[in-house]
């Protein structure tokens, strides 16, 4: 059975993530260079709105967008497969997301 309805949706999510993430990274880098501040403190997720210089937080925002985009792509795939009633593919994608979440939680502990 032919099926490619999920491709357009996933491609749109991935390309959107690249565009937004790329713009944030470029602006952050440009501000740092113009301001002559090339310091790079280690930042955590919680520093996005509070800690560190503006350029570093913009760069962090870009990194977060790029890092979240593959996961958003998989979520888009799950939606597409559910719409096609391809339960096996949707279940496989859901289990993958579940295992990755468990891995992230274990990694943080």
């Amino acid at each position: 059975m032919k099926s490619d309805s999920g491709h357009a949706l996933v491609a749109a999510v991935l390309r959107g993530g690249v565009a937004l993430g790329g713009v944030l990274l470029a602006i952050g880098l440009a501000i740092g260079i113009v301001a002559g501040d090339t310091s790079t403190p280690a930042l955590r997720l919680t520093d996005l709105f509070a800690g560190g210089p503006l350029h570093a937080r913009l760069e962090l925002a870009g990194i977060l967008v790029c890092g979240a985009t593959p996961g958003m792509g998989v979520l888009a795939l799950i939606g597409a497969r559910l719409r096609e009633r391809d339960w096996a593919a949707a279940a496989t994608a859901t289990v993958v997301v579940g295992i990755l979440l468990v891995g992230m939680i274990i990694g943080h502990v």
């Binding site: 059975m1 032919k2 099926s3 490619d4 999920g6 491709h7 357009a8 996933v10 491609a11 991935l14 390309r15 993530g17 690249v18 993430g21 790329g22 990274l25 470029a26 952050g28 880098l29 740092g32 260079i33 090339t38 310091s39 790079t40 403190p41 280690a42 930042l43 955590r44 997720l45 570093a56 937080r57 760069e59 962090l60 870009g62 990194i63 790029c66 890092g67 979240a68 985009t69 593959p70 996961g71 792509g73 998989v74 795939l77 391809d86 096996a88 593919a89 496989t92 994608a93 289990v95 993958v96 295992i99 990755l100 468990v102 891995g103 992230m104 274990i106 990694g107 943080h108």
Partner: protein, 283 residues
């Protein structure tokens, strides 16, 4: 930590090279970026791995954004294999304290030498040309068996394929996940030859599908490094921008490249990476 302007330019250039090659052959480049950041730039290993994971994610989304639209990525195959990779990554986290990373680095290196030689010698041009007339120039997937078809720019025809010997792909993907959990690499260097040589998937589909997979794997690792405070945006950002530009260039060339050229490029990269891994393990 401060990154000087010269180092900043160097990071962009490293990203450009890594992104273009990674997008072309379906690897994230972590096994090249991490040694380069530690040896050439002097960053500590955890900062290097965190920046490398960002680079892998950017290579993945930039390349697979185009490949998915062209129908080159087999998303069902990707997630079926990613299941094994994710399990391998979890297992790697658990057994990391039992197996010394040096030993695994050498084993991984030897495995890469073997797959590199197989890629250089192999006959990996799989798939059947099914003609050009009256077909849409976008690929599709089949549910069972896992397979599909894609538009081959080089021959101007649709190529259909079926993924065979799924257990081989699952097994190698598990090992790739294990390596990812233990060594901080994406595992694309193993997945592409596994799909192409082990499962008879055309090399262009194998590279594109691997591009999609490595982003998912890298994201999981990145959250861990971010949570533990090892991410320096000033190191990762210029690298990521270089990777983004490089991956855009790499995907333009991939469509028109011959399968043989892609396999040869992959084989050479595999052997070079293997040497780095063995040296790291022995050192």
């Amino acid at each position: 930590m401060t990154v000087g302007l010269l180092a900043l330019v160097g990071l962009v250039l490293l990203g450009l090279v890594s992104g273009s090659l990674g997008a072309l052959v379906g690897i994230g480049g972590g096994v090249v970026i991490v040694p380069a950041l530690t040896i050439l730039f002097g960053f500590d290993i955890k900062t290097a791995i965190a920046a490398s994971l960002v680079a892998v994610a950017v290579t993945s989304i930039t390349a697979s954004g185009r490949y998915v639209r062209l129908g080159l990525v087999n998303t069902r195959l990707a997630l079926t294999l990613e299941l094994a990779t994710a399990l391998g990554g979890l297992a790697g986290g658990f057994i990391g304290t039992l197996v010394p990373a040096r030993v695994l680095s050498v084993v991984f290196g030897v495995l890469l030498v073997v797959t590199g030689i197989l890629s250089l010698r192999g006959h990996g041009e799989h798939g059947e040309h099914v003609g050009a007339a009256g077909v849409e120039r976008a690929g599709w997937e089949t549910r069972r068996p896992l397979g599909g078809a894609f538009w081959d720019e080089r021959t101007a025809s649709m190529v259909s394929y079926t993924a065979k010997r799924l257990p081989i792909g699952e097994g190698v993907s598990f090992v790739a996940g294990l390596a990812s959990g233990l060594l901080g690499v994406g595992g694309g260097v193993l997945k592409v030859p596994a799909m192409n040589l082990g499962m008879d998937v055309p090399v262009k589909v194998a590279a594109a599908t691997s591009s999609f997979m490595i982003g998912v794997t890298a994201t999981a690792g990145l959250t861990v490094y971010l949570g533990r405070g090892f991410l320096h945006p000033g190191v990762a950002a210029p690298l990521a921008l270089g990777v983004l530009a490089g991956a855009l260039v790499g995907t333009r060339f991939a469509g028109a490249a011959s399968p043989r050229a892609l396999r040869t490029t992959l084989g050479v990269i595999l052997v070079l990476v293997a040497v780095v891994m063995v040296i790291r393990g022995a050192g």
